[in-house]
Each structure stands twice: as C-alpha cells, then as structure tokens.
C-alpha cells in the first residue's frame, strides 16, 4: 500500500473521493464550512467541475454543496482509492 496522496479539494477531479484532513481557514468561513459538512475525517466526492474549475460541486453527507475555489482551495485531504 502506497502513501495516500494529499491534495487540495480545488484540485480534485470529477469522481474523486477525498478524505478531508485539514482546513487552512479561520473565523466565520471556517465555521460555515464545518457546518456544511467539510469536517476532518469525512469523505467528500467531487460531483461536478465547471469549465474554469470554479465553483466545484461536492457530495457531502448525502447533500450536494458547491464551493468557490477560494474556499475549496483552503481544504486539504487525501485521495481515497475507489
């Protein structure tokens, strides 16, 4: 088994499953992301990427949530084999 690859959520490709490890963001925005379900340990799936890569839609706890790049770029996780 190789080392898990760490990427930012903004770099995920459609279909990727990513286990969130860290949010590099503070304050109200951090709070909002946590409340939307972007919690360390949880696996999110990249559902859709618009042509310019912004925004990106993720499946989080059975709900589709779109994030702007300035938000998804601050969230780090590990690619999960599927």
């Amino acid at each position: 088994m190789g080392m898990a690859k760490t990427i930012s959520l903004a770099d995920g490709e459609k279909g990727d499953r990513i286990r969130i490890s860290k949010l590099h963001i503070e304050g109200v925005m951090r709070r909002r992301l946590l409340d939307l379900g972007f919690v360390p340990g949880r696996i999110v799936e990249v559902l859709r990427k618009s042509p310019l890569g912004d925004p990106i839609a993720f499946r989080v706890s059975q709900t589709c949530i779109a994030l702007r790049k300035e938000e998804s770029g601050q969230i780090e996780g590990e690619l999960v084999d599927s």
Binding site: G27, V28, R31, R32, D35, L36, G37, V60, S61, Q62, T63
Partner: protein, 245 residues
C-alpha cells in the same frame, strides 16, 4: 386571557418542518415579517388537551452560527424570545448531517424535543434508529414520526404536553471541548452569568465570545441597552469580557 404556550420548529432545510407545521396548525397560521428582516417566518396556532399553543416555523439552516439572515433570525428567536419548547426536526435518513444543528440547539436551550421525521423513508431504506439510545445520549425526548403518513404525531403531542406540565424534565448533553477551551469557557461563563443573571445561557454566550461572534455582541447590546445589572454598562462589559481571556 388563556395562557398560550410557545413552540419553535428548527432544523435543516427539507426535513419536513413546514409539513409538520401545517399538520399541527391546519389553516390557523399567518406569515410575519420579523424584526424588520426580509425573511419570512410563519406562526400558527393549535390546541391540545385544553392548552393553546403558538408554534413558529423557523427558517431551515445547517447552522446557527455563520450569520446569514436566516441563521440570525432562527438563533435570535431561540435565544431572545425563549420558546418554551424548541422542536428540532431531523431527517431520519440523513442523521450525520442533521445532528450538527441538533447539538447547536442543545447548547442554547435544554427545552428541546428531537423529532426524527421521514421515518417512512428511513424504514423503506432499512435504516434502523434506536431512539432510546439517542434519548439517553442527548438527554432530551426523541420521537420518531412521519409527517407524510401522520404517524407518531400523537406521541409528539403527548410529549409536548408532558414537557409543559413538567412531568418530563430534560438533561441536555453538554458538548465538552478541549482542556484549554474549557478553561476559557469557565472564566467567561462566570462573567456572563453575573451580567445576564439567567436571562441568557451563560455557557453558550461564553462559547460565542470565544468564537468572536461580533454580530451576537451587537444584538445583545441592542436588546439589553441600559438594562444590564449595575456597574455593567452593557456596551463596555459585553465587548470587553471576550478580550480579557
């Protein structure tokens, strides 16, 4: 005048709050514009066992902390209007997501009934929910219902009634934070308790101050203007206790 008891419905979007609200109130409802906000909130009325209730359908939100107009309205209603019971409506098929809001409400008030709605859908998907364990862990009643099929509603009404009479008392779970945070909470909680003397939940105020919730501080200053205990000009005290830790 006959006493009217107040109930608020809180929950994530799409958990069936309005369906339950309509089921309970029938046509006895009106839409109000609350506190100058543009967000609509419906109030309705029903009776049960000779008691009259006013029930408010709060805006559906994933959180009560990120300060959108919807979230502030729901938060302000629970904290400042103090409904006698807050019913948190959860989607039984999506508890991982829904439980966050339930815990946030339990930090604000212990007078809570947790309703697991969409039980018909959960049954269909083979999702089993042990409400007795949940009840023990959360420290408040947990009732399974289906607003669509109208099952469990009698049990809910009975639980509301017994909470009003005091037959059911709750012991809401306390979310415990890491040691450093807890130390700060205890410091702030004591000061908040001195200032608000039970009018606001002190531990919750302490948590919001640690989170740097400026909007809440402004709201408190507005609502308590000149009415805080002697020596505590609200303005100075509320904004400075956060900084003193």
């Amino acid at each position: 005048m006959i006493e009217q008891h107040t109930i608020a419905l809180a929950g994530n979007p799409n958990t069936g709050k309005s369906t339950l609200f309509n089921l309970l109130t029938g046509l006895k409802q009106h839409t109000g514009n609350w506190a100058g906000k543009t967000v609509d909130m419906k109030a309705g009325y029903f009776s049960h066992k000779d008691r009259k209730y006013e029930i408010v359908d709060l805006p559906g939100t994933y959180s009560l902390y990120s300060n959108s107009a919807d979230e502030e309205l729901a938060r302000n209603y629970i904290i400042f209007e103090k409904p006698e019971i807050t019913i948190v409506v959860l989607d039984a098929t999506s508890l991982e997501r829904n439980m966050n809001l339930a815990l946030q409400v339990l930090e604000m008030t212990g007078r809570v009934i947790v309703v697991m709605n969409l039980m018909d859908e959960a049954d269909k998907r083979g999702i089993l929910i042990n409400e007795k364990i949940l009840m023990r862990r959360l420290g408040v009643p947990v009732i399974k219902i289906s607003s669509r099929n109208r099952t469990g509603v009698d049990m809910l009404l009975d639980t509301i009634d017994r909470m009003i009479t005091g037959e059911i008392s709750t012991e809401p779970v306390t979310v415990v934070y890491d040691e450093e945070t807890e130390k700060k909470i205890i410091l702030l909680e004591e000061k908040a308790e001195n200032i608000f003397q039970g009018r606001l939940p002190a531990r919750w105020v302490a948590l919001r101050l640690l989170d740097g919730d400026q909007r809440l501080i402004e709201e408190i200053e507005k609502r308590f203007a000149g009415r805080l205990e002697d020596g505590f000009a609200g303005r100075a005290s509320v904004s400075t206790i956060g900084r003193s830790v």
